[in-house]
Amino acid sequence: MRKIKSIGLVCSLLFSRGVSAQELFNFTEPASNMPARSLGIRLTNNLLDETHLNQKTVQFLPELMWGVNKKLMLHAEGIFRNGSGNFKPIGMGTYAKYRFWSDDKVHRHFRMAAYGRMAFNRGHIHYDELEINGMNTGWELGFIATQLLHKQAISASLSYEQITDNGPGNEIHSGNAFRGLNYTLSTGRLILPKKYTSYKQTNFNVMLEVLGQYLPDNQKHYVDIAPSLQFIIHSQTRIDIGYRHQLQGNMNRMATNSLMLRVEHLLFNVL
C-alpha cells in the first residue's frame, strides 16, 4: 500500500500542470538524436542485486556516441562485469538510431525514430530475461516516439529482441526463450532552474520510467518501474542516478532490483 502511495505521489509530481521536462531519459533513449558531428562519452555502472547467487554484481558499460548527421547517431560500447570476483570484459555492442519523423514547434516537438542494437557477449547465461545490452549475444530492432509538449516530455518504445548462444559453454538453456518483446514508457520534468539565465546553471530533472519485457515462447514477463534523478552541469555533462525495481513478473532474472549511476559528457562539433 505504501509502495502504491509513493508511486502515485511521484506520478502526480511528474504530470502536474506547468512543469518543465527533459527527454534525456536515464533508462531509455528518446527519438531525438545528439547533434551532428558531436561526440559523447557515456560511462554507465549498474549495481545488480543478484539474489540467486547472494552477491552484488557491478556491470560497467563505457560507451562512445557519435552524431553522424542530423538523423543518424551511432554508439559503440564495451561490457565489463565483476560477477565471478574479477572485473573483466565480457562483451561489446553497437547501437544505431535513425530519426525519421520530426514535427518541431517552439518549445514542443513530436519525433519518431527507428533503432537497432547488436551485441556480442561471452558471459554465463543463467536467466530467462533477455538483455543484449549487458547479458546476451543478439540483436534488437525497435521504434521510439517522443512528444515534448510545453517542456513536458513523454516517450514510448517498442522493440523485438532475439538472442543466440553466448559462445561455447554458455548456450541458451533448453526450453528458455530466445526472443522477446520490450516496451517502455517514460516521462520526466525539469525541477531546476525555474528560469534559465545561463548555460552554467545546473539542471535538475526527475524521471519516471516503466520498462517491460514479454517472452511469447514461454509467456514469461516482467514490468519494472525506474525512478531516477539527473543533473546536467554546464549544459554539457550529465550525472544520472536511477533505481530499477520489479513491479511484477514471473521470470528468473539476474536482478529484480538494481541501481544505475552514469556520467556522460558531450563534446560539441569535434568531428
Binding site: 518541431d104 517552439v106 539565465t197
Partner: protein, 180 residues
C-alpha cells in the same frame, strides 16, 4: 493584357548589388532544455560568418552578429540549427540597404545572394532594414503553406530561380524569399 502583365512583372525583377547582412535574430523550435540550446549555440558559433551569438535560453532566441565583410548565407545558419537536431521557427536579418525601389516580387541581388520580396507594397527602402526569410525550413510548415498559397510562384516552392524570375538569373540559382 497577359503579355503586358508579364512585361511589368519582368520589369519589377530589378537587379542590383549592394549591402551586407549585419545581424540576425533566430528563433529555434523543437527544444526546451539548455543542453539542446547549447548544441545550437555551439553550431552557430562554428559558422564562419558568425562573429558572436547572444542567447535567450527561455525563448530559444539566438541573436547573431556577423563578421564585417563576411559572406553571410542564411542557409548556413539554417543548416547549423538543423544539424544540431532542431528547426528554425523564424529568422529575421538586418542589413544596410542603399536607396532601392521594391515591391511585390521584386528581385534584388545583394550580399552575395539573390533575394525575392514577397507580399510587400511598392516602396523605397533606404538604410538599415530588417527582413524575414519565409522559405521552406525557415518558417513553420503552416506558414510555408500560407505563403505558397499567397504567391503561387514556382520559385517559392523550390527555393531556386524558375521561369517566373528575371531572365538574367540562371535557372537553379538559390533564391531567398523574404518579406518586411
Amino acid at each position: 493584357m497577359k503579355n503586358l502583365l508579364f512585361v511589368i512583372a519582368l520589369m519589377t525583377c530589378v537587379y542590383s548589388s549592394f549591402g551586407q547582412i549585419k545581424s540576425a535574430s533566430l528563433t529555434a523550435s523543437g527544444l526546451t532544455c539548455s543542453m539542446c540550446s547549447k548544441s545550437i549555440f555551439k553550431a552557430l558559433e562554428k559558422v564562419s560568418s558568425v562573429e558572436s551569438v547572444d542567447v535567450d535560453i527561455n525563448e530559444s532566441v539566438f541573436n547573431i552578429k556577423f563578421k564585417k565583410g563576411a559572406n553571410v548565407q542564411p542557409d548556413d545558419i539554417k543548416n547549423a540549427v538543423v544539424d544540431a537536431g532542431f528547426a528554425v521557427a523564424s529568422l529575421k536579418m538586418t542589413a544596410d540597404f542603399p536607396s532601392t525601389q521594391i515591391g511585390k516580387d521584386t528581385h534584388i541581388q545583394f550580399a552575395n545572394g539573390t533575394y525575392h520580396f514577397l507580399n510587400v507594397p511598392a516602396q523605397t527602402i533606404n538604410g538599415e532594414k530588417t527582413f524575414t526569410i519565409v522559405d521552406k525550413n525557415f518558417v513553420s510548415s503552416a506558414e510555408f503553406k500560407k505563403y505558397k498559397k499567397l504567391t503561387g510562384m514556382k520559385c517559392y516552392e523550390s527555393g531556386k530561380s524558375e521561369n517566373c524570375c528575371e531572365k538574367d538569373i540562371p535557372v537553379g540559382t538559390r533564391i531567398y524569399h523574404i518579406t518586411l
